[in-house]
Amino acid sequence: MLLPRLQPPLRAAIKSIGRSGTSGTQTALNDAFAALSVKNAGPVLTFVRHASHQQQGAVNKAKDGPGKRLGAKKSGEQYVIPGNIIFRQRGSLWFPGENCAMGRDHTIYATQPGYVKYYKDPKTNPKRQYIGVTFERDQVLPLPPNSARRRRLGMEATKMELPEVVEEGAEIQLQEVTPVVRKRKVKERRGTEGMELTIRPGYMYREANWQIGRAAERAKVKVAPFVPRDRWTAWRKTTLRKTKNAEKRGLSRKKK
């Protein structure tokens, strides 16, 4: 491979040596070497074609998937109740306005019963479009600036169910009826007798930490005082513990 490539320059060099025979051998040699240089060895181009697949453009066009059923589910001035979906969207094309809220996937839904309004509110945000719900059909959104909010109670007043009131008169009546009511006896734990649990920071009904610390004292738990260097009691306790643990281990093995 190398030899045929070298042939033409070599040939040219020899020729030049022959031509420059008249002049000094020094210059002739120089010329010969110059002719030998790779520079004169003409361009050799090699093209390689790899197996490939077009990556960009129209070749890999997205296939048309199933529709996601987005868009308006309720039109303007349509009656809705709380929880009704008004608009399904990807991203926030519409924002929740009066009496509306936005769900996890940007769905707009109603929080009050009323009539759907699609509107813009350039005072609050010039670029956003809102969906709101009004209580009256002819009401216009957005509300005039600095006007009081329109609010609805949405509640009804009922008589409170009070726990039995302790009164003299009521007590006599209760005594007559009592056999019907069967009360489950609440078993009190040792040490919690007469304890009034109150709500504490963190919304927990529990005792204060110092009260928990005194629980054993309250339950009158007697613990034999620890006597240092009493090896006899220590040995008894250790053996008891070890036998108990061994029993436990044996039980768990049997299960398997």
Partner: protein, 425 residues
């Protein structure tokens, strides 16, 4: 604790109990534990607090000071440093750079004082000048006078604003609110944090579009029920708010003025109309306040100031939270409101703060907000105040669905009869 203190402690506690609460409506006669003469003598002897607010570092000392109504000055670290320092006066600190800087500041102050004098002279000259001969007439003269007075105020502040001693005195809480520089510093401090919070709460709780069309607070208002300070918008237990609160109103512009205090509940449920109304819980007018006179206990309103006495906040069970806003409204200069006329005119229910401010031409300057919900004490509070409706509970109204309920289909329809009862889900 020293033996002396231990000996005195029960005595002081006994004396503390002697003070009859100002809030109680029922006159209570306490049993005296000492004779009249002795009592006066002991009070004078133990009136001074045992701890120095500038140097107290122990928790116990701080607490006892705060209980007596004196706040310890600065941080505990600073107080500890002061305790161990040589107490060299601030101006004589032996640092050369500090002394040189003081000289520069002094020269600057002298220049400002000179400017103040010239400005005063210019103002008096213009006042003496006939307005008609000016180019813009009397109106132009008044405008220029206003501008010059504004500039004079600015100069007064600039003369003192770099003074380290003034800064120290302000931080120690010893600033005299009658002086413009301390008012300026207090205003700046309030605007840096407290005002931002109150404005945020006004907007978050929608007090501003609901009660007033717009409102820019210019006075600091602190609401406190006895010892309990209320943060703006905080939920307050109904038993705590049963007695009228004490307001601390700090205004930052000079002069005494009369104010009106209104407490409004913006969320009173109206079942018949399926909406809400406002209720006035308290209204007192013509109350004087000034930058140095800040305390405003609602219970101390005089007979000729009180229009509507205090009605304790109460939120019936199940109703959404009630926002109670205590507004301080400034009356225009020289204006006194007619209490008798207001007593006839103003009703508690369906009170409108918008129309009140418009008709009486009063300007809101500050507000304190707290919220209330039904709690264990509310029924007792209502009973004691003689309010009916403690046994009412609000429950959500059921909203009928738009679609009718679908008929059973398929397996469910086929197994609907009682024959399949045991296998039904």
């Amino acid at each position: 604790m020293s033996s002396c203190q231990t000996a005195v402690r029960p005595l002081t506690q006994c004396l503390r109990n002697l003070q009859i609460s100002n809030y109680s409506a029922i006159p209570i006669r306490m049993f005296t534990s000492s004779s009249r003469v002795n009592e006066a003598a002991t009070e004078t002897a133990f009136s001074a607090p045992a701890f120095d607010p500038a140097t107290v570092t122990s928790t116990k000392g701080e607490k006892s000071l705060m209980r007596s109504g004196v706040l310890p000055i600065g941080s505990r670290r600073r107080r500890a440093a002061i305790k161990s320092s040589d107490n060299i006066p601030f101006e004589q600190l032996p640092y050369q750079c500090f002394q040189e800087a003081l000289k520069v500041l002094k020269a600057d102050r002298e220049e400002k004082m000179k400017n103040i004098q010239t400005e005063r002279l210019r103002i008096s000259n213009l006042e003496a000048y006939n307005g008609e001969s000016l180019k813009g007439g009397e109106k132009e003269k008044q405008r220029r006078l206003g501008d010059m007075r504004k500039h004079l105020e600015w100069l007064k502040i600039q003369a003192d604003i770099n003074d380290p001693i003034i800064k120290k005195r302000f931080e120690d809480g010893e600033g005299d609110m009658n002086k413009p520089i301390y008012r300026y510093l207090a205003d700046r401090k309030w605007r840096a944090y407290q005002r931002l919070i109150i404005v945020q709460r006004l907007n978050q709780l929608s007090v501003v579009p609901d009660l007033l069309p717009h409102f820019e607070p210019i006075a600091a208002v602190q609401v406190a029920f006895k010892q309990r300070n209320v943060q703006p918008g905080e939920f307050v237990d109904s038993r705590v708010s049963e007695l009228p609160p004490r307001l601390k109103v700090q205004v930052f512009d000079k002069g005494e003025r009369l104010v009106t205090v209104v407490m409004v509940d913006g969320d009173v449920p109206l079942v018949d109309e399926d909406s809400f109304m406002h209720r006035c819980h308290y209204l007192a007018v013509n109350i004087p306040i000034s930058p140095s006179q800040t305390s405003l206990p609602l219970s101390r309103a005089q007979e000729n100031q009180l229009v509507l006495p205090y009605l304790p906040p109460f939120a019936q069970k199940g109703s959404p939270y009630h926002r109670y806003s205590v507004f301080v409204l400034e009356q225009s200069t020289g204006q006194t409101l007619d209490v008798e006329a207001l007593k006839e005119k103003v009703k508690r229910d369906r009170f409108s703060l918008r129309s009140f401010t418009n008709t009486q031409s009063v300007q809101p300057i500050g507000v304190g907000i707290f919220r209330s919900l039904w709690d264990d004490g509310t029924s007792g509070v209502m009973k004691r105040a003689g309010i009916e409706g403690a046994d009412v509970e609000f429950k959500r109204k059921r909203i009928p669905a738009l679609k009718p309920k679908q008929k059973a289909r398929g397996w469910e329809a086929r197994h609907a009869s009682d024959k399949y009862k045991p296998i039904r889900r």
